[in-house]
């Protein structure tokens, strides 16, 4: 019973951490309209995990989580740079998506029987997090929140009106890249809990639903926090009762909430 409690407790902490990322970096990613970026980074994280295991197996012990952070940062910077050059975030993400997935397949082939560890990141599990996982997640989320609080106004200005921001001396490219960095680190955090496939469910869907219901940035963030918490806690509760993996259940709840947001009358139609 105690063993179950500690796993559930870690899962609850992870949901709170994930929700904080969803309400900050996730919300701004939805504003930016760069949600495809999340999938791109998720694949880079998979490559990072495989590479981390490869280094540990053949050279020296290296924390897998740290390697995934490095990969997420590298690919976030690469996508930011490519977007700045080509001015099309979809093309930039698409190219990096293919590159990171190719690397992932390559590294997975090299680590053979240990590949299942990296593949675990595809599905993830909120109830299988170790003490070390939660510690790394907490550090990463603290970093995200700190940077977000300091630079949120300049990031928002850059997202809303890049030309106006530039005219004021705010470099939109710099703050767009910073947002990508925060999201990249955020994806690593969330993937630990819900996996690559469902990272979208807790990072993007709560913010997208929140945006439909609110008239302001703060309200969108608070809605995203609420919906993400509901999805995560709901997923854990149903998982404990049913034995089904919590990430899938959390994803279903998040999607359900999004569809419910359509029921609200007078949601703003965006041109």
């Amino acid at each position: 019973m105690f063993a179950l409690s500690i796993w559930v407790l870690r899962g609850i902490i992870a949901v709170i951490l994930i929700s904080l990322v969803a309400s900050t970096a996730g919300t701004f990613t939805v504003f930016k309209g760069a949600t495809f970026f999340v999938s791109g980074i998720a694949h880079a994280v998979l490559a990072g995990a495989a590479f981390g295991i490869f280094i540990t197996l053949y050279f020296f012990p290296f924390p897998e989580f740290l390697m995934t952070i490095f990969f997420a940062i590298f690919f976030a910077l690469a996508i930011g740079y490519a977007t700045h050059r080509s001015e099309n975030v979809d093309v930039s993400v698409g190219i990096m998506f293919a590159f990171s997935m190719s690397l992932a397949v390559l590294f997975l082939a090299m680590i053979k029987e240990y590949a299942s560890v990296a593949w675990g990141l595809i599905i993830g599990d909120l109830l299988l997090l170790s003490q070390e996982d939660v510690l790394w997640m907490s550090i990463a989320v603290l970093l995200i929140l700190l940077l977000f609080l300091i630079f949120r106004r300049k990031m928002l200005f850059s997202i809303f009106d890049p030309e106006g921001a530039e005219a004021m001396g705010v470099n939109p490219y710099l703050y767009e890249t910073l947002l990508y960095l925060l999201v990249g680190i955020g994806v690593v955090v969330i993937m630990k809990g819900v996996g690559a496939i469902l990272v979208y469910a807790l990072l993007i869907i709560p913010a997208a639903a929140g945006k439909r219901l609110s008239k302001g940035v703060l309200a969108t963030g608070l809605f995203a926090l609420l919906f993400s918490l509901l999805s995560g806690f709901g997923g854990i509760a149903l998982s404990v009762l049913s034995g089904i993996t919590p990430s899938a259940l959390a994803g279903l709840i998040a999607t359900f909430i999004y569809f419910l947001s359509y029921l609200k009358r007078g949601t703003v139609k965006v041109p």
Partner: protein
């Protein structure tokens, strides 16, 4: 006072502006006319110190980068990400929050600027729910909230109805008493009463001076590559048929 001497701007390997020379007194109202790709926005951005240039620019006696805080810039509305859920107050205060932070003074200046464009009652409204014309007025308020000495407006009348256009022009007419206004447009006709100088631009300077002197059929043909009839009456002239701006 804005002085431009032998200004050339090279952008992505091609010449966007070539050898421009003109000067503008303060306060005054300058309209920049020209076809698509003529370098009108490039010129505004050069004034803002965002684009490297050859030649000389002096704005109030200084280099563009040194006077950024004296300039207010209103970009084209279609370059704005209008999916972001912002209240009108958030939009107006945004540049002030970045430079000054959240202080009482910022709120006061934003309210005054909104009042100046007749939009104060929309303080808490969802910016996305406003009409195109109302959004333009909010952007004008945002520009004015910084209390700039010169205002640079990039096609403020695109996709706006006549009522909005006239309302904005009325505000600009009032502002020109104490501020320099530089406005990029495709249709000078509604601005004939407040315009002091016109710059005809198609990478090179086709003409610069008083509207009555510069808007000639010869200059307009050089500018647009086609004949544009002009109606003249006493000291006013109008182009017949506007230049319809189609963004590629």
């Amino acid at each position: 006072m804005i002085e431009v001497r032998n200004l050339t701007v090279k952008y992505d390997g091609h010449v966007a502006l070539e050898n421009l020379t003109f000067s503008l007194e303060h306060p005054s109202f300058l309209v920049i006319l020209g076809p698509n790709g003529a370098g009108k926005t490039t010129l505004l951005k050069t004034f803002l110190g965002l684009i490297p240039y050859e030649g000389e620019i002096r704005i109030f006696g200084k280099e563009p980068r040194e006077v950024r805080n004296l300039l207010g810039y209103m970009p084209q509305r279609d370059r704005i990400n209008r999916s972001v859920p912002l209240r009108v107050k958030d939009v107006v205060m945004m540049p002030l929050l970045v430079t000054i932070g959240l202080k009482k003074e910022v709120v006061k200046r934003a309210r005054e600027a909104l009042r100046g464009v007749g939009m104060e009652k929309y303080w808490n409204a969802d910016f996305r729910s406003l009409s195109g014309g109302q959004q333009q007025r909010v952007f004008l308020a945002r520009t004015l909230a910084r209390n700039p000495k010169a205002i640079l407006l990039d096609e403020p009348f695109s996709a706006t109805d006549v009522a909005t256009k006239m309302a904005v022009i009325k505000i600009l007419h009032r502002l020109k008493r104490e501020r320099t206004i530089i406005l990029v447009t495709h249709d000078v006709n509604p601005l004939v009463e407040c315009t002091d100088k016109v710059l005809l631009l198609n990478r090179k300077m086709i003409g610069f001076g008083r509207l009555i002197d510069v808007i000639t059929e010869e200059n307009m043909e050089r500018l647009y590559g086609t004949r544009v009839p002009i109606i003249r009456r006493e000291n006013v002239c109008y182009t017949v048929g506007g230049d319809i701006h189609v963004r590629p």
